[in-house]
């Protein structure tokens, strides 16, 4: 696969992931506005799902909060995916310097999630 084709493929996958995330957020947002749009806005922390399982269960029950959080999680996953795709691409074209760089960054990013 040429670099140009790879870049176009990564771009399309990113766009797909972003639109999927956006679709969840838009549906959840509209549902939230229909249910609570006329209530006063309170600028404070509210209980929200903080795990993937919790978010998934809420989204499956079509809860507006669950759908929005699922969209946000998809957006985060899309960022990680781009690095994994690049790693795969550079390995496929035997550019091991850059596959190592991608792997290193991915490792540091994932490690920092647990380390912090």
């Amino acid at each position: 696969m040429s670099t140009l084709k790879m870049e176009a493929t990564i771009g399309l996958i990113l766009l797909g992931g972003t639109f999927l995330a956006l679709a969840c957020v838009v549906v959840g947002g509209i549902a939230l506005l229909i249910a609570h749009g006329q209530q006063p806005f309170i600028a404070d922390r509210v209980p929200v799902p903080t795990s993937i399982q919790e978010t998934w269960q809420l989204a499956l029950s079509f809860s507006p909060h669950g759908l929005i959080e699922l969209g946000l999680l998809l957006l985060i996953a899309t960022q990680m995916l781009r690095l994994a795709l690049l790693c795969g691409f550079y390995t496929a074209i035997h550019d091991y310097k850059f596959s190592f760089i991608c792997l290193f960054i991915l490792w540091v990013l994932i490690y920092s999630l647990f380390w912090q």
Binding site: L4, E7, A8, I10, G11, L12, L14, L15, G17, T18, A21, L22, V25, V26, G28, G29, L32, L33, H36, G37, Q38, Q39, P40, F41, A43, D44, R45, V46, P47, V48, T50, S51, P64, H65, I68, E69, G71, L72, L73, L75, I76, T78, Q79, M80, R82, L83, L86, K97, F98, I101, C102, F104, I105, V108, L109, S112, L113, Q116
Partner: protein, 278 residues
């Protein structure tokens, strides 16, 4: 204020944030955070969570277009990201050992000086016809669309740019600032890249860095749907508009826009020092 009215207002501000982020390579945080904190009186952690959403949305919203048009240099972005993540790690380790207030003041002064350097550079006058040896070894040179054709550029001063990126990572770990500003500066002032290549490559990479912090904010409950959904929708719209506009705007105007934006960040940082938030 009702949730509906708040959402409409926030979508409007977020469109502006996405547009600015897409054009400057800074992400949308420089508008989102002050709007949420100063205008809507939202907790700073929730505002920072929303800012991370805006950075990822800008990055994802523009990546496909900028990759298709041939602006982004992925190899440079990845190479510099090593410096950023190593610096961020060191920053987190040194957090208690360094004088944060002094660093904040120094960094804001660096931003003002960088704004001056950014406006001062005239890339048309660059006459490079050879690349730095590291750039040749890592195959960092590239082409970009300019005046309806692909123009070649030669990458300079790779070690300097790498050092700037380490400092960028260190500062983002220490001061909690986005590293987009220094990423653009490392590519513009260090590697001497065409400005649009610098901003678009920065845009591509900041999404990856923001994802890590976003994961942490999510698990701590700082991603609040009622705040984040208008930000996501607005920023995506703004980012798409920005990606369309980039081709038509002369890089000199982008330099001015970027310089104003980083001066604004510098003023925000000095303000935080004065009011005792740092």
């Amino acid at each position: 204020m009702t949730i509906l009215f708040f959402s409409v207002l926030l979508i409007a501000f977020s469109i502006l944030a996405g547009l600015l982020g897409a054009l400057t390579g800074l992400g949308g945080g420089i508008i989102i955070i002050p709007v949420l904190v100063l205008l809507f009186h939202i907790n700073i952690h929730l505002a920072m969570g929303a800012s991370l959403i805006s950075v990822m949305a800008t990055s994802s919203g523009t990546a496909a277009a900028y990759l298709r048009e041939g602006y982004i240099n992925l190899r440079i972005g990845l190479f510099l990201e090593i410096g950023a993540v190593v610096g961020a790690f060191l920053g987190a380790l040194l957090m208690t050992a360094l004088p944060i207030t002094l660093l904040t003041i120094l960094f804001s002064l660096v931003l003002f000086f960088s704004a001056y350097l950014t406006i001062k550079r005239r890339e048309e006058q660059d006459t490079f016809n050879a690349s730095h040896p590291w750039a040749l070894y890592l195959k960092l040179d590239g082409t970009y669309p300019h005046q309806n054709k692909l123009s070649h550029y030669y990458v300079q001063n790779v070690p300097l740019a790498f050092l700037i990126m380490c400092i960028a990572g260190l500062l983002s770990g220490l001061l909690g600032i986005g590293s987009g500003a220094l990423k653009v500066l490392a590519m513009d002032q260090g590697l001497r890249l065409p400005y649009k290549v610098a901003t678009t490559t920065s845009n591509f990479m900041i999404g990856i860095t923001a994802a890590v912090s976003a994961g942490i904010y999510f698990t701590h409950g700082y991603m609040v749907p009622v705040v984040d959904f208008p930000v996501f929708i607005g920023v995506i719209i703004g980012a798409f508009l920005g990606a369309k506009l980039l081709k038509r705007i002369h890089h000199h105007y982008l330099r001015i826009l970027f310089s104003i934006a980083i001066c604004f960040i510098g003023i925000q940082m000095l303000y935080n020092v004065i009011v005792g938030n740092v």
